[in-house]
Amino acid sequence: MATIHLSDDSLMQYALDLLDDDDREAVAAHLAGCEQCRTRLEIVRGDIAAIEQVEVTIPSPPLSFPVQRRTNAWAVLVRAVALILVGFVTGWYLSSQVRNTEVVSFAHQPPAVHPGKAIPGTFHVCEPIDLR
């Protein structure tokens, strides 16, 4: 009786670990008793390894570590403290300047109107009054 060997597809699926448990066990059982299929499996595995191990040479400069966040956080903190200090000193200086300045008030002085002619919300020229 002629021996039925495994197909190339089955060998490749076995080599790539693509089979489910039942099929994998069946293939493994056949391989255990068939030297010819074991030899073919080694060839398939060699071809797959040749694909996986293609040598590609791409020179690349070292990948240096970028500036860390911790450093950035410290920089932000220092800037914030500096800004607060500058604001405080500026405010203190300005307030001391205001204390030394004479305050002049320019309160609104309504124009004189003749008591008898005043119309609310309007201004008008007073009639001359004879003071003699």
Partner: protein
């Protein structure tokens, strides 16, 4: 020499240990460059994508869940590479095939071995959905489950696409006389 786990190296790096950062980047850089190059077809775009990925790693402070740092880097590098492709498409108006055969980066300068060049050409001739999965699995070192989650497709679809991609590349290798790579 003790092989320090990725996440431990990363923790040391973000505390200011530059040697840890250097070790971490050296551990993953070449693999990520290769993956980004397969996706973009451009050395410059691959470098930019990897640079962006490591920048993001340093600044976003990802948390260590169950995922690997390697997988995280793969995903962010792939996203950066896809953005590079989109940027090129928007600015130069090329189709995808032209993108993958840019004259300023001849294949022979990047891939020395003749058989490897034949493999690369076949991978680059795959349609996007097959190439993407093959690159993520073979050069991005991602599990089938992670790929399915990232692309939001069923696990069976991932496996089926990978099978067809490998089958096509292998057939092409055999036709070109590069088959029978029996391990020593």
């Amino acid at each position: 020499m003790i092989d320090i786990p990725d996440w431990d190296l990363y923790k040391q790096a973000i505390r200011g240990n530059h040697l840890a950062w250097e070790q971490l980047s050296q551990r993953h850089r070449d693999r990520l460059l290769r993956m980004a190059w397969f996706l973009t077809g451009s050395v410059e775009a691959a470098r930019d994508a990897v640079q962006v990925a490591f920048m993001e790693l340093a600044q976003k402070h990802p948390r260590h869940h169950n995922g690997s740092l390697s997988g995280y880097l793969t995903v962010i590098t792939r996203n950066a590479a896809l953005k590079e492709i989109q940027r090129k498409k928007n600015t130069v108006s090329l189709d995808e095939t032209e993108l993958l055969s840019t004259e300023d980066n001849p294949l022979s300068r990047v891939v020395a071995d003749e058989r490897d060049r034949a493999i690369v050409k076949t991978i680059q001739s795959l349609d996007t959905i097959h190439r993407d999965i093959m690159v993520m699995r073979f050069y991005g070192d991602m599990s089938y489950e992670d790929i399915a989650e990232e692309l939001m497709i069923p696990l069976g679809t991932v496996k089926s696409r990978l099978f067809h991609a490998v089958q096509k590349v292998r057939t092409s290798m055999l036709e070109a006389g590069y088959g029978d790579n029996t391990p020593e």
